[in-house]
Symmetry: none
Subunit: 203 residues, 4 copies
DNA sequence: CATGAATGAGAGTTCATTCAT
DNA sequence: TATGAATGAACTCTCATTCAT
C-alpha cells in the first residue's frame, strides 16, 4: 500500500509484531472488500491472516479502528496512484487525462477500493468526507494552475472541481469495476472524457 | 413518495392494512436514512411507525425486503423529480440544466436518499447497479436526442452519459447534502455545470 | 420476596411476562448466591429459569441491572423480616432482642443474602452504602425512642447504632451462615447479645 | 507491609528478584483496592509495577495466588496494628479501647483493606473465614483474660467476642472508610464504643 | 531473569425472526 | 390483522496464561 500512515494503532515493539499487524491489515482489505464492513467479522480477518483471534486486539482497538486505518491506507493509495500517473505531464489537460487513466488502472487492480471508501460513509463519515474534500481541493488547484497557464478558463472553481471528480469516480465505477467485454479501454475512456472536459458537448 | 411500486411485498387486503404498510415504509425511510441499514432495527422501525413488532412481518418478509422496496421507491422518486423538472424544456442543454437543478432541489429535501442508495451497494447490489444503469441509459438517450436535434456532438455515447451522471451526483453530494453557508445556490451550481458541459473548460 | 420494588426494569405488559421476570429474579438469587456476581453467568441464570438466553434482555438491561434489582429486593426483605419480628414488642430492649432473633432466623433461611449484599460493595457501591445507612438510621431511631421511654441512656447516637448493627451482622455471619453443630440457638445468641447490649461486659 | 509471610509464592533467588516481587505485591494492593478482584487485571498490575507482563508468572502462579498472598499480608498487617496499639495497656477495658483506636487509625490509612478482605469472601473463602475466626479467637482470649482479672463478667465467650468484632468492623466502615466532615474523631468513637461495651445501654 | 507477542476460551449483548394469544 | 413475548445464533471484545526470544 501507499502509505505507512495508520491511525491510532497500537505500535508494535518488535519486527515480528510489525509483520503481524501488516498481515491483519491486508486480510482486512480483502475481507471488507468482499463482504462489506458489517458482514465482515474479526474472526474471519484473523483466519485469513493466519493469527489467533485474540491477536487482533494486540494491534487494533476495535473493528472500527482497523477499518479507519484501512480507509486512510486506501485513500493515500488512490492519491499516490494519481500523483504517479501525472508525474511526467506538463500540459494541464494532459494532466487530467493522465490522472483519470491512472485512476482507472488503479481501480481495475483494486476493485475493493470502491466498497471500502463507500462504506466509510456509514462507518466513519469523517474519513469519507475528508477523502473527497481533499481530492476536490487538489483538483481545484490544478484547474487554477491551468487557468494561470492560460490553457483553461479563468473562472473555474470548486463547482467544476467536484463535477470533474464526479466524472472520474463514475467512469471508474462503470469501466473499472463494472467493466464488460466490449467496453472501451481505459485509454479510450480517458480520451473521451478529456475531450468532453476540454470542449464540452456542444456541436 | 413518488410511486406505489413495491417489490414483492405482501399485498394488504384491507384499507387499514394498506395504511399500516405505508406507515412502515415511511418509518423505514427515516430509520435507514438516520442509522444506515445495519444499525437500523426492525423494532425501531415499528416503534416509529407506531405498530407492534410482530406486525412488521405481516407486510414484509424481511429486513432486506423492506429495504429493497424502499430503494425502488426512492429510485423512482429521483427519476420522477428529474422528469418533472424537465417537463417544460425543449432545448437539449436547457433540459440537462433543469434536470440537475431539479435533482439538487430534490436531494436537499430528501437528504436520506444518498445514504439509502449508497447503502444498496452493500445490501442489494443488483438494485444499486440497476439504479445507475437506468439513469445512465436515460441520459444517453437524451444526448442522442440532442445530437439528432443538431445541438450536440454526434459522437456522444455511454461514456459521456456516465460522466454527466457522475457530475450531477457529486454536485448533489457537495451542494445538496454537504452544503455550507456561503455556497452557491442550486441554480448557480446548475448554471456553472451546464456551461462546463456545453463548452468544456478550455480557455 | 418482600417487595415488588424493582429498579429500572422493563415492565412486562402481560401476565406471562410478569411470571418470566419473576422466574429470572429467583434464578438470579440462587446463581449470584452460589457463585457470586462475576462467576455467575446470564446463560446459567436463564438455564435455571428455564427460559431462552435472549429472553433475559426482554426483562433486564444487563447483568448489573438484575443484580441491582436483586439487592433492592433482598434489602427490603431483610428490613421486612426485622419489622415483622418486632411487631408485637413494646419494651425497647425486647425490641432489639426480637430484631436480632428475627434477623438470625431470616439469614438462616436465606444464606445467599450475605454474599449478595456483600458483593454489592463491588458491583453497586451505592446500594451497598444505602443499605447499611438506612438500617443504621432505623436503629438510631429506636435508640432515641428507648431513651425517650427512659429505658436507655439519653446520649445514644449514631456511633452506638452502628456498633449495634455490626454486632448483629457479625452474629448473623457466625451463627446463621457459618453455624456448626453444638452452636447456641438463635434465641440463646439473641439473649446473650441482649445482655451484652443492656449491661455491657463489666463485672 | 507488616509481614513477609507469603503463601506459596515462587521464592526469588536473587535480591533483584525479591524487589520485583515486592513491587508486584504493592501494585496489586493498589489495583485490587481500586478495582476489586475481577476488574483488576494482571497487565494493569505489571504496568503499575513497571515490569513486563510475562514477569508476573515468574513470581506468582496465578491471579488467585497473588490475591491470596495479599490477603494474608493485609490480615497480618491488621493484627499487627492492633497488637502494637495495645502494647502498653494493661487494663482489660483500656486494651479494647486501644485496639479499636488503633484499628480505626490503620483503616483510615489503608482504606483498600476493606475491599480486599471483603472480596476474599468470594475469591478465597477459606482465607476470609480464617481471618475473622483468628481475630474472633484472639478477642475471646482477651475477654477470658479480663474475666480472670476480675474486671469482666466470667460468662463471656465466643458470642460476645463476635459481637465485639462486629462493632469494631462496622465502626471502622462508618468512621474510617465512609467518614464525613463533622464526624467524631477516632478517639471519640473508641471512647463511646468502650462505654457501650463496658456498661451497655441501659439507663 | 526479563520481555512482550500469541493464544483461545468464554463472556455479555443484540436482534431478526417465529409463534402463541 | 395485531400483539409482544420467546428464541438462539452470531458477534465483538477481554484477559489469564503460555512461550519464543
Amino acid at each position: 500500500m501507499a502509505s505507512d500512515t495508520i491511525e491510532n494503532p497500537k505500535v508494535p515493539r518488535t519486527e515480528r509484531g510489525r509483520k503481524t499487524q501488516r498481515k491483519l491489515l491486508d486480510a482486512a482489505a480483502i475481507e471488507f472488500g468482499e463482504r462489506g464492513f458489517h458482514e465482515a467479522s474479526i474472526s474471519s480477518i484473523t483466519r485469513r491472516a493466519g493469527v489467533a483471534l485474540g491477536s487482533f486486539y494486540t494491534y487494533f482497538d476495535s473493528k472500527d479502528a482497523i477499518f479507519r486505518a484501512l480507509v486512510l491506507d486506501m485513500s493515500d493509495a488512490v492519491k499516490s496512484a494519481a500523483r504517479d500517473a501525472i508525474a511526467d505531464e506538463t500540459d494541464p489537460l494532459a494532466i487530467e487525462r493522465a490522472a483519470l487513466g491512472g485512476f482507472l488502472r488503479f481501480a481495475s487492480e483494486h476493485k475493493e477500493i470502491y466498497r471500502i471508501i463507500d462504506e466509510a460513509e456509514f462507518v466513519d463519515p469523517d474519513s469519507y468526507r475528508a477523502h473527497y474534500e481533499t481530492i476536490g481541493e487538489r483538483i481545484a488547484q490544478r484547474l487554477r494552475d491551468g487557468a494561470q497557464a492560460g490553457v483553461m478558463r479563468p473562472d473555474l472553481g470548486e463547482v467544476e472541481a467536484w463535477a470533474l471528480m464526479g466524472m472520474n469516480v463514475f467512469l471508474g465505477l462503470r469501466y473499472a469495476i463494472w467493466n464488460r467485454s466490449g467496453d472501451p479501454t481505459p485509454e479510450d475512456v480517458a480520451k473521451a472524457a478529456n475531450t468532453l472536459l476540454a470542449k464540452g458537448i456542444e456541436a
